[in-house]
Every structure is written in structure tokens, then in C-alpha cells.
Symmetry: C2
Subunit: 426 residues, 2 copies
């Protein structure tokens, strides 16, 4: 039995202890009566639920910075060229590097869509986080490729029974433009049959929406609706270019939408995410970082700040996306989308907990902790990360950090050389 006692943390402004057994929070309050295998004296650090990163391509850490300040087409060409050379080594170390980075910035669960999920899951299990991993279908309208994808997806789903309790399988459809109608329908049925989440990119760029309208006479959201694919099991990444009817549909079907502000800004997809409208309509609004090839890091705290600031600016309204909602978007809303009992620090919830060190200039004065954490601080204030009751980072030290930095660096060099990319002097 794993028993963890966190003493002297501050939760919602009050000093408290938190007692954890077998990965779950048992008691919050005075916990001196409990015996533990490990005790942490939080010494006034603030306790918060771990972040849930709702849209990543984890192993793309290895392509971080490969091209900057380039138009989208040239950038994509580079990325696709590199992806042809991906192998088990690069997927494993790219995902380990991603997990290290997520721990350093307070993420305890993430929803991934990338190649070789079997290999990625090994890296996640070696890191201790929780993940949801897609097999990603992309048939480009080829029936042969679709048949292969169906086989591979089924096989991966079979194997996912051995992924262990921290990793879950999801059905991944890349998008309405990379996946045929038949394949989408097959994925829909597979997800429903096995009670799985379905993870897809939706309305990320204006061009995607325009192309969908020319091809199917409707927006991507309405196209998915016409296929009966909208529902609370759907995780729709981006949903940036929506009309009123799209918003209504996403709300009515309680779809989980993922805002990826940093990626949207950096590759210039757009910024007018309809947060107020989506939340009011009934959609579950969550937050993600996207992969490091587009947004460069996996830092959810930074994503929170940017999301709120840009939302306030384009609406010309400083009241939008207030701090309490922002924290929910980054924690409990993501947990809800994944069916994970976390996102709050209370008895019965999963013990996915951050301890934040406020002994920094950015936390002075002590007026509003959450404002200081989100708007003033950085993720380096996160001292300790606990996932499923296991302490994965303490004093900002993560196990195997040196090995991960070295091996991921080496894997990236090999991958880029294979892809014929000559690195400039660093």
C-alpha cells in the first residue's frame, strides 16, 4: 500500500494536510492521525490540481525549432520529411523528453495523438504520468490505406489492454480533410462500440473550413454532425474557425473542445477562439499546447496566461476568462473530458497534485495567489509534482533527467540527419 502524507500545504488560502492512499486522496484537513510511507513537509507551498494537457503530439519535441518564421507550407514540408524517418528510438525519447517537460511545468495527464502509440506508452509508463494515446487514422481517401489503418487500429487497441492503468487508448482521426467519410464512420462506430474517446483536429484554419465547404457543402463541425460523430466522447482540437451554428452544435452535443492558443498564434492560424460562446452553449472548453514543432513547448501555465490575455484583447474586455474559470479549463474540464476523477483536491479524487513555491519575487505581494501564479510567475515555481500519489518531481528534480536530456538530444540528431537536415551551428 502506497501512503503519502503532505503536511502544511496551503489550499484555497488555508493551511492543510493532504493524505493519499493507493493513488487517491483520502483526507484533506488535519491528517496527523495517518501513518505514511512518505511524508512531504510542504512548508506553506500552495497545493493545486495537476494540469491536463488536452492536445499534444508528444514526440514532436525532437523537432522543436526546426524551422522558424517560415510560411506554413514550407514548415509542413520540413516536418513531413522528418516524420518519414521516425522510429522506435525517436518516438520513445521524444516522448520521454515531452514527459520530463510536462512534469517540470505541472502537467500530470495528457491527451496525445501521434505515431507508434505503443512505443509512446512505454515512455509514459517510465515517466509516471497519465496519458490517453490515439492510434491516428489518415487514409487520404485510399481504400487500401483505410483497410491497413483499420487493422492497425484494431491491433493497437488489442495491445492497449497491456498498457497498464496509467495509459488509455483513444481512437484518433487526423481531421475531416485527411480521413475519408467511410473511415470516419468506421472510427465513429469503433469508438461507440468500445466506449472510447475520439480525438480529431477540427476547424483549425480558415482554409480547412473553406475547403470543407467546397467539398461537402458544409463546415467541418456540421459535416461531423451529419455523420453522427458529435458527442461528449469527442475531443475536438482547435475549433478556431466556427460560425454560430457550429458553436450551437458543439454545445448541444457537449463536445470537448481544446483551445491551443500558442500554436494558433505562432503558425498564424488565428486567435478569435469563441470561449464565451462555446462555454455558454454547453461545450466543455479545455486547453492544450499542441506539439512542440508548432508551439515549441508543453507549458500549460504559459498556455493559460496567453489564452486569457489574447481573449481579453481581441474582445476588448478585461473581464473575460477570469482566473477561476481559467484554472478549471486547465484542470477539471480536461479531467472531465477524459473521464478522469481529478481536477480538484478533495477526498475521493485521484492524487494528481502540484506544490507551488511562492518564495519568489513574482509572488510578492501576497494579494492574489492565482494571479501571481498565472500572470506573474512561470512554471519554475512548481516545486513538486505528484501523479496517482507518486512523487514524480520534488525540489524540481525529476528521476533520470540527465539521461533523458542526453538520449533525446542524440535521438534528435540521428532523426534529423536521417531526414537529410543539416543543422546550423547552435
Amino acid at each position: 500500500m502506497d501512503r503519502l502524507l503532505i503536511k502544511n500545504a496551503v489550499l484555497d488560502g488555508r493551511r492543510t494536510d493532504i493524505y493519499v492512499e493507493n493513488g487517491k486522496i483520502v483526507s484533506v484537513g488535519n491528517c496527523t492521525q495517518f501513518e505514511a510511507d512518505k511524508t512531504i513537509d510542504a512548508n506553506g507551498m500552495r497545493a493545486l490540481p495537476g494540469f491536463v494537457n488536452m492536445h499534444t503530439h508528444a514526440a514532436m519535441t525532437l523537432m522543436r525549432g526546426v524551422e522558424e518564421d517560415l510560411p506554413l507550407a514550407a514548415w509542413l514540408k520540413r516536418i513531413w520529411k522528418i516524420e518519414e524517418s521516425l522510429d522506435e528510438e525517436s518516438i520513445y525519447w521524444g516522448t520521454r523528453l515531452a514527459c520530463l517537460e510536462m512534469l517540470k511545468s505541472g502537467t500530470t495527464a495528457f491527451n496525445d495523438q501521434y505515431w507508434m502509440p505503443d512505443v509512446a506508452v512505454k515512455a509514459v509508463n517510465d515517466s509516471g504520468l497519465r496519458s490517453w494515446n490515439s492510434y491516428v487514422c489518415m487514409d487520404h481517401g485510399s481504400p487500401e490505406r483505410a483497410a491497413r489503418e483499420r487493422d492497425e487500429l484494431e491491433q493497437t487497441y488489442e495491445k492497449s489492454r497491456e498498457w497498464g492503468p496509467m495509459c488509455s487508448f483513444t481512437v484518433g482521426c487526423h481531421s475531416t480533410y485527411e480521413v475519408s467519410r467511410e473511415m470516419l464512420e468506421w472510427c465513429r462506430d469503433f469508438a461507440v462500440k468500445y466506449g472510447l474517446k475520439l480525438h480529431i483536429h477540427v476547424s483549425e484554419t480558415r482554409a480547412e473550413v473553406e475547403n470543407c465547404r467546397s467539398r461537402y457543402g458544409m463546415s467541418p463541425v456540421k459535416y461531423l454532425d451529419s455523420l453522427g460523430m458529435l458527442g461528449p466522447h469527442l475531443i475536438a482540437a482547435h475549433t478556431l474557425w466556427l460560425d454560430e451554428e457550429d458553436v450551437e452544435l458543439l454545445g448541444k452535443h457537449h463536445v470537448n473542445v481544446v483551445h491551443n492558443i500558442n500554436s494558433n498564434l505562432k503558425i498564424a492560424s488565428g486567435y478569435r477562439f469563441l470561449y464565451n460562446e462555446l462555454a455558454a452553449a454547453g461545450a466543455n472548453v479545455t486547453l492544450g499546447t499542441d506539439g512542440c514543432a508548432s508551439s515549441n513547448n508543453l507549458d500549460m501555465l504559459e498556455a493559460m496566461k496567453t489564452a486569457a490575455m489574447v481573449q481579453k484583447a481581441w474582445r476588448a474586455d478585461p473581464k473575460v476568462m477570469p482566473l477561476n474559470e481559467l484554472l478549471d479549463i486547465a484542470t477539471i474540464n480536461g479531467a472531465k473530458a477524459l473521464g478522469l476523477e481529478s481536477g480538484r483536491i478533495e477526498a475521493g479524487k485521484q492524487a494528481d497534485i502540484l506544490l507551488v513555491n511562492v518564495r519568489k519575487s513574482t509572488f510578492v505581494p501576497e494579494i492574489n495567489f492565482l494571479s501571481n501564479f498565472v500572470y506573474s510567475g512561470h512554471s519554475d515555481a512548481i516545486d513538486t509534482v505528484i501523479c496517482a500519489g507518486r512523487v514524480l518531481m520534488e525540489g524540481r528534480r525529476v528521476k533520470d533527467e540527465d539521461e533523458i536530456l542526453d538520449s533525446a538530444g542524440k535521438a534528435a540528431r540521428v532523426l534529423l540527419e536521417k531526414s537529410g537536415i543539416v543543422l546550423k551551428t547552435y
Copy 2:
């Protein structure tokens, strides 16, 4: 004689030493022939020029987070109420806290506009950075107040001869709406007479521009031009709401404009800063954070990232504001505006130098250092800060850090209590 030798730094992709004497860089390259009083083995850390924060209200650190997610009018009311209670203690410790935070995030010089510059300068000198400090004129059209302001400004300028080599006096006019035409003209003449910089808020909000048009029949920029105030000595903060003619005027007169993206976003002033147009017209584009009451921190690295990302997004062009230009904006352009010989690491320049530790997940892989630093990393990667050849931070430790955190925290509590503000539980 102060002699500093930095060994094994990496500059522009090459290993190098940097030798500093009496605050200036003497040699870059192999410097083993030089004897030094202090030697730093940079051990592969990247060397960069220190950041120049071109628009701050430093002591407002003490009001960080005082109201969040509020409309501008309610927020301003709170801030003004607090400012009535400012005293030497709060200005000193607020500025010390600001300097600590700037050192932690790589700023070596800043351009400040706030109350009691005499007191602020003491804090700057105790911290070791460089500052330019305004006496801020705000007469609200009252001739009595204008007379007092003129006296005070002249006295402060007299006293500024004792500020020492690291701090310089500038003439501060709050804005065209808080300062009368007569006072602006007097400030113009004073700045010209003594060869001083003139620091002013210009076209920060749409309302400001509209009000100026109703009052004077022209935009703030054209109004300043009509008073003969535009020139390379002018530091115009914000310049966010400009028309074509404004851009042309600011360019033609080589005005220094300061982009404060985080403040503009958070209080929802706007985001369409005309970077391309201003730079092409001939204005000197620089970067600032504004005060912590509006933008919550003084982190120039974060400001760089946000500025570039938002610029790319609203223009729908990922090529805009590329990394090399972004670094110039945050360093040498600011130095130029202030007449400071820094912003490049080369012989003859001031030794204002950052050493960046790249042994972090966010710096893997080593494809593009500047992209990793700006787009992936955070200021916690800055290990060492040198200003005028003095090592002010090493291993992220700053002298007197504990005392500053405690005393600034206490000063903030006293200040807020005096202002009748009851703090919620932190």
C-alpha cells in the same frame, strides 16, 4: 580596476572568452592572456546582451494582482487610491523588488516613469542595474500644479547630478491628456536645453486617440508634432492606435516607440501594433513590460515571445518579427534609444551580459538556440547577469534576495492597509 574574465561562453554558435575591464568589454575571443580579479567558467553557457526594458513603472510591483479581471475604470480607481499612500519606504522596496525581478529575467537597463525618482534611484544603485528615471509631469491643466511640477522637475534634475553613473534623469510627461499644452512645451524646451530624453505615453487606447481628436482636432502623434516634440530624443510608450500619417511622422522623426504587448493585452487596450510599418518608416521599435499593476511581471523574455506570436497571429503571417529582429528590439534598439553603448557583445561595448544555461528540456534538441530561448524556454534559464562588468546574479542567486522579498512584502501590506484595502486570504 575591476577585471572580469568569462571563459568558455558560446557566442553566435562559437566558443569564446570575454574579457571585461572597468565595466566595458575589452576583448572577445581567446582571452587567456588577460589576468582578472574574477573569473567565471561559463562552461558552454550562451552569452547574450542584457535586455533593455524601455517602459516601466518599477515600484508598481507592490500593486501586483490588486484587482484582476476588472474593467479598466474600476481597476484604475483602485490603483489611484493606493498611489495616494505611496511613501519613500514603498517606493524604495517596490523598486528593489522590481530590480530583483528584472535581474532574474535578464534585464540590465530600464526606462522608468514613476513617483519619487530620487528614492527609486537609491534602490537601483543598491541593485546594480542601469536606469533612466523620469520626473513625471501631470498638471491636469492647473497652472498652480504646473508651476509646482516645473519647480519639482528642476530640483530633481539638479539632484540627479548626484545619482551616479548608473542612473540618468529623463523628462517625463505622463501623456497628452494629463498634461497641458503649456506644460508639454515647457518640458520640450527643458529636454532640448539639457539634452535629455523625454518619456511619454502616446496613443495607448482608442479612447485616448478619440478624445484627443475631439479636443485638438488631431491624433496625439500629430498634436505632439504640432508642438515640435517629435524627435530621436522622444520615447513614446505604447503607440498602439496609429493611422498612416502617425506612422509616417514617428518614422520621419526617428522617434523611439515602445511596444508593451502584455499590458496592452491584459487590460484589453488592443493588440494591432504596427511593427512592420513603424520599422519601415524609420521609427526605432523597442520593447517594454509596463508596470506590474497592469502586466504583472517585468519579464522581457516573455514580452518578446508574446510580441512575436501576437504579431504573427493578427497579421496571419508566421514570417513577421523574426527572431533576429526580435532580439534587436529587446536589446540594441533599446540601448540606442537611451544612448547606451550596449546591445552587442563586442569590444568597446558596455559589459551588460547574460549567460544562459541550456541544460534544460526546453533547449533540446539543439537546433536553434534563439528559438529555444524565446519560444520554448523561460527566464529561469538565465544563470548569470552582468551589468557594467559587475556580476549581479550567478547561479540565479542575487544578493540580498531574502531581505528584498521580506521587506517588499511588508511594504506592500502597509501600503495596502493605508489605502483601506482589505486583503482576501492568500
